[in-house]
């Protein structure tokens, strides 16, 4: 079968689709990355000219292993540094956990569309500097599921200028 995207590209595209779906269901718009391009893949806006807005770094993985309520994700150092610095619009990391078998990533029938597993979010604001060269293992709270309720709450904080 013809395919333009690599495995990783497919996973990233699905994470974009996931976040876009959650945002649409919450009533928010999805915009493209801005000139900084510093680890922000998409911008979620909730109707105001400049606020509230949340920048999102999208990742996907098939190897989530929750231990003691969290899992570790290897984040490239550049993304780590870009996401931990102060910004006017807050930024978060969203990691889409996918099944190991890619046949199970997305199924659709006439009566339903199913994307398996879910995404988790994490704010890296204020995290310490690192001397790592390639990746930093960030611990993601398995309770921080990126769903409509979470997004609405995050957007409210963004509206008020609060840290996420």
């Amino acid at each position: 079968m013809d395919a333009l995207l690599s495995q990783n590209d497919r996973m990233e595209a699905l994470s974009r689709a996931y976040v876009s779906a959650i945002a649409a269901h919450a009533g928010y718009t999805v915009g493209n990355a801005q000139p900084d391009r510093d680890s922000v893949d998409i911008i979620l806006n909730a109707g105001g000219v400049m606020r509230p807005a949340i920048g999102v770094q999208l990742k996907a993985t098939t190897t989530v292993s929750v231990v003691s309520g969290e899992f570790s994700f290897p984040l490239p150092v550049k993304n780590y540094n870009d996401l931990r610095v102060p910004t006017q619009s807050p930024r978060i990391l969203v990691v889409l956990a996918l099944p190991g078998n890619d046949d199970e990533w997305l199924t659709h029938r006439i009566d339903k569309l199913i994307m398996k597993r879910c995404a988790y979010w994490k704010s890296l604001f204020g995290m310490p500097e690192t001397n790592n060269i390639r990746t930093v293992s960030v611990n993601v709270d398995a309770a921080q599921i990126f769903d409509v309720a979470a997004l609405v709450s995050l957007m409210q904080k963004s509206r008020n200028g609060e840290s996420l």
Binding site: Q34, P35, D36, R37, D38, V40, G48, V49, M50, R51, G55, D82, V85, P86, T87, Q88, S89, R91, G161, E162, S163
Partner: protein
């Protein structure tokens, strides 16, 4: 074609102060803080209130994005293109001096020599104002006043502007940190920082030149210009304006004041025509002839000595080069120096002496003589 500014470096060149200065000038009002890095502003536009968020620091990860958003909002709400907004923002914390040649081709180009001259003379006009702001005089030797040299080193040459060929000089000015006593009045010049004094003196000087030219046309003489030396008129300013007006067939000179240090008027503008060049050159010539050249050292051989009666001091006339031409200069010396000059004259030795060179009529005099030296010939 609608252009969008997207280069991060270009966007980062706009300072938070410039953003605030521009926004407040355009009527946006500060409302409340937003987080720890920004402030919320709003403005009534028609029947709606529009909100923006201005960063108070450029040390945020999304600074370029924020600036781009703001440019887009300013352009949309002001019904202007983003290039013009960007230009205004890069200029918001500068006094912008513009010298325009009316003779650009349709593509905005002019002959290269005319362009080079326009830039040089615009610089000279600003430098002359810097000299006048330091100390008003009829003429200056540019490059000799350290304060002026330091100031000019901070002036930037901006992008030329479309439409006609317009040279822009971006003059530094500190932001206003205290509201003025009255928004509608100019503060006293002496209370302004030197950087702002320079551009105000330039504006005042150009206006005074224009007024003095009118007086000349009514039959007044050089005194019309002498009366406004205190306002910033000098041989240097007259020469610069004359050169631009002559080379460019007229000139439009303006100063747009920095929005970070607001003024009662947004802009000062004076237009000169080509026919103003000749009288201005003549004024400059007069000023240069009569203006003392302070703190010069001259070297020459005495040709005449004179001491009247039993006076202890005497005058010495010697020949020296002034502007590469041999001239006679007369100096009054106290007794001891006069006697040394007499001895040098007897030995046919030249003298070296410092002072202030002044032309009175056709004669040169050295005032405030000091440091007389008789160089000994090398064996």
């Amino acid at each position: 074609m609608k252009a969008i500014i997207s280069d991060p470096l270009a966007l980062r060149a706009i300072t938070p102060l410039a953003l605030r200065g521009y926004a407040e000038f355009e009527g946006w009002r500060q409302i409340e803080p937003y987080g720890t890095t920004s402030e919320i502003y709003n403005r009534r536009i028609g029947d709606r209130f529009v909100e923006i968020i201005l960063p108070v620091t450029d040390q945020i990860g999304d600074y370029s994005s924020v600036v781009q958003q703001l440019i887009s909002i300013f352009a949309r709400e002001g019904d202007r293109d983003e290039i013009a907004i960007y230009r205004d923002l890069t200029h918001a914390d500068r006094d912008v001096v513009r010298a325009g040649s009316p003779h650009a081709d349709d593509d905005g180009s002019i002959p290269i020599n005319e362009g080079v001259d326009l830039i040089a003379e615009a610089r000279n006009a600003l430098a002359s104002a810097a000299c006048s702001a330091n100390e008003p005089q009829q003429a200056y030797h540019l490059g000799k006043i350290q304060r002026v040299t330091d100031y000019m080193s901070r002036v930037r040459l901006g992008q030329t502007e479309m439409g006609s060929f317009v040279v822009t000089l971006l003059a530094p000015v500190p932001p206003r940190i205290q509201p003025p006593a009255q928004e509608t009045l100019w503060p006293e010049l002496i209370t302004e920082p030197y950087d702002r004094q320079v551009t105000r003196v330039l504006a005042n000087g150009l206006k005074a030149v224009s007024g003095a030219l009118e007086e000349l046309n009514r039959g007044k003489d050089i005194s019309a210009f002498e009366a406004v030396v205190k306002d910033g008129v000098s041989a240097n300013l007259c020469e610069a304006v004359a050169a631009i007006a002559e080379n460019s067939d007229g000139v439009d000179l303006s100063i747009t004041w920095a929005r970070t240090r607001p003024t009662p008027h947004e802009r000062s503008r004076i237009v000169f025509s080509r026919k103003d060049a000749e009288p201005l050159k003549e004024v400059a010539r007069h000023f240069r002839l009569r203006e003392p050249r302070n703190d010069v050292t001259v070297f020459g051989t005495s040709t005449r000595l004179h001491r009247a009666g039993k006076q202890t001091s005497g005058s010495v006339t010697f020949t020296t080069l002034i502007d590469d031409r041999p001239r006679s200069v007369t100096v009054s010396l106290p007794r001891e120096d006069y006697e040394r000059a007499v001895e040098a004259h007897r030995r046919r030795q030249p003298i070296l002496i410092s002072g202030d060179l002044v032309r009175e009529g056709q004669r040169w005099h050295l005032r405030n003589p000091r440091n007389l030296a008789i160089p000994t010939p090398e064996i």
